[in-house]
């Protein structure tokens, strides 16, 4: 059976597992990038430990969410780099592999390789915070949601650049402004009250606020909780669907 004869649902993910494995191999050969992937989180955790050891649990949960959030930055850099410098889009997409598989394979490969720091942080969190199973599962679900959001943002943004050098500044700015500045590494309650709705509309800090509330570190009003959960769910779903559409749309230039 030819690929073109396959039903759409099957065709949409044609080549996904193979391309995911390709990306795992590519990333796994970059030992230095893997080794430094925990740098920002590590430094912030050390600061928190020295300055306010009581907040280490909050910071650890924040570091988990931040780690999955920065995977979007890797998707952005990788997708743009291999498109601009290697013409990998042309090689892979002028063939039977689907654009959805290209996007999800790349994001999935990066997730697999950079999951190790998240697992380490998870173990540390369990030791420091004594998570219940439910709290652990909730943090896992939040981290996964933040990953979907950031991978989608990363892939969509990657298509706008024509020069790799331009990406570094934007990537760094975006992921640090959204991941470090809002209350991800510190309690939501310390964030200025007037700006809290804004923080709850930013997926990393919304996820952190929900996680902190579940751990009893932060009190959220019903309205704030609804905004955080609703905003996170709606933004992530819409952005993911748009990323899928955009992946298809940008196979061909105009």
């Amino acid at each position: 059976m030819r690929t073109s004869d396959l039903p759409p649902s099957t065709r949409a993910f044609r080549g996904l597992s193979a391309f995911l494995w390709t990306e795992v191999l590519v990333q796994a050969h970059e030992e230095l990038a893997m080794a430094t992937s925990m740098l920002v989180q590590g430094v912030l955790l050390v600061f928190v430990y020295i300055l306010a050891p009581a907040l280490l649990g909050v910071a650890l949960v924040g570091a988990i969410l931040y780690s999955t959030f920065t995977m979007g930055s890797r998707v952005l850099n990788e997708a743009a780099y291999v498109r601009i410098d290697h013409k990998a889009n042309d090689l892979y997409l002028a063939g039977p592999m689907s654009p959805e598989a290209y996007f999800l394979g790349m994001a999935g490969g990066i997730l697999v390789v950079y999951l190790t720091p998240v697992i380490i942080l998870g173990i540390l969190t369990m030791v420091v915070v004594h998570l219940t199973l439910l709290q652990g599962l909730l943090i896992l679900a939040l981290a996964a949601t933040v990953w979907v959001f950031s991978a989608s943002v990363g892939y969509i943004f990657s298509t706008f650049f024509r020069d790799n050098r331009a990406i570094w500044a934007y990537s760094s700015l975006f992921f640090n402004v959204f991941g470090v500045l809002p209350p991800v590494f510190y309690p939501f309650a310390l964030f200025p009250a007037a700006l809290r709705p804004v923080a709850l509309l930013m997926p990393p800090s919304a996820a952190a606020a929900i996680a902190q509330a579940s751990l009893g570190i932060t009190q959220l009003t019903a309205g704030e909780l609804s905004l955080a959960v609703g905003g996170l769910a709606v933004e992530t779903t819409l952005l993911f669907l748009f990323a899928i559409y955009w992946a298809r749309r940008t196979v061909r230039g105009d």
Binding site: R2, S4, T22, L25, V26, K87, A94, G95, R252
Partner: protein, 308 residues
């Protein structure tokens, strides 16, 4: 599957960029490629070759016109055409952090080939491209030519029915180029069709059954390399260094081109004797050789292929 691998009718592409006048990259290109043929698009930089190839390989939308791959409309139903094609992109590079063996194998798997087939074809392609020795080295440690060979290996290993090769041998040494040529010939013997772009005239001549000369987005001439050479008006080229001043004397023999103080005359073999006699009488040294594709290109396009 139809016997026509590719057909374009009056294909146009206009690039529109903000703040710049529109650029017409293709101005109505019509061409056909039969199944099993090797066809070259020959042209200077910016002639429209890559634009045509990108449209044909479903990576760029045309402004107007029609293009079909094995009967499937590339613009309307690109997903139907894609399983039949594979492309070596211009300036494409393998993943630097994969070895050539990983690159070829994973690419074939991503195209849906089984593990066994992918493994066998990977080894075959690496051997054909002379990459076996480097197969387990990361591509980042390979030379530019070796990386290009890895790209070609990746694509020829697909054995796709229609292969688009955009400047496939760029950066390769002469031996590697010949390996690629042989691999391409083998593919067409097994039923694949090749459409390649090149600005190497020897490559176009050695490799293609037919050529399309493209200039400013238009097909100026098409045919075999011999057809093109015959279009010059003769099959023999006589070079007379220092003969430029005798342009008028020699112009009745055939097409004369002055280059500095040298005079080149394209003639039929029958008139060669007369020219040689006249050259001797004029105390000129004469070099005689066959007309090459370069002369044909120069006559058709009006400029050398390397001239920008």
């Amino acid at each position: 599957m139809t016997d026509l691998a590719l057909r374009s009718e009056n294909l146009r592409k206009v690039y529109r960029t903000k703040g710049a006048p529109p650029t017409e990259a293709l101005a109505g290109v019509s061409l056909e490629v039969q199944r099993g043929e090797r066809v070259a698009l020959l042209g200077r930089n910016g002639a429209g070759k890559t634009t045509f190839l990108r449209i044909a390989s479903t990576l760029l939308r045309p402004t107007s016109g029609r293009i079909q791959v094995f009967g499937y409309d590339v613009d309307q139903t690109p997903e139907k055409a894609r399983p039949y094609i594979a492309v070596v992109p211009q300036e494409g590079k393998p993943f630097f952090h994969l070895t050539p063996r990983e690159q070829v194998y994973t690419y074939l798997r991503a195209r849906g080939l089984t593990r066994e087939t992918a493994r066998a074809r990977t080894e075959e392609a690496l051997e054909k491209m002379g990459l076996t020795e480097f197969a387990n080295r990361l591509s980042i440690t390979l030379s530019g030519g070796q990386r290009q060979r890895a790209m070609v290996a990746t694509v020829i290993a697909t054995e796709a029915p229609l292969l688009f090769l955009d400047e496939p041998t760029i950066g390769m040494d002469p031996f590697a180029r010949r390996s690629v040529w042989e691999a391409i010939r083998t593919l067409t013997r097994h039923g694949s069709t090749i459409l390649l772009t090149t600005h190497y005239l020897d490559e176009a001549e050695a490799l293609s059954h037919r050529l399309y000369v493209i200039e400013r987005g238009r097909v100026l001439i098409s045919g075999t390399a011999d057809d093109l050479k015959r279009s010059v008006g003769g099959t023999v080229k006589v070079l007379l260094p220092g003969g430029a001043s005798l342009f008028e004397t020699f112009r009745s023999f055939g097409q004369c081109v002055v280059d500095g103080d040298a005079l080149t005359i394209i003639v039929t073999p029958e008139r060669l004797g007369e020219i040689m006699e006249l050259a001797v009488r004029s105390k000129l040294l004469a070099t005689v050789g066959p007309v090459t594709l370069e002369e044909a290109f120069l006559r058709v396009v009006g400029r050398s292929i390397d001239e920008n």
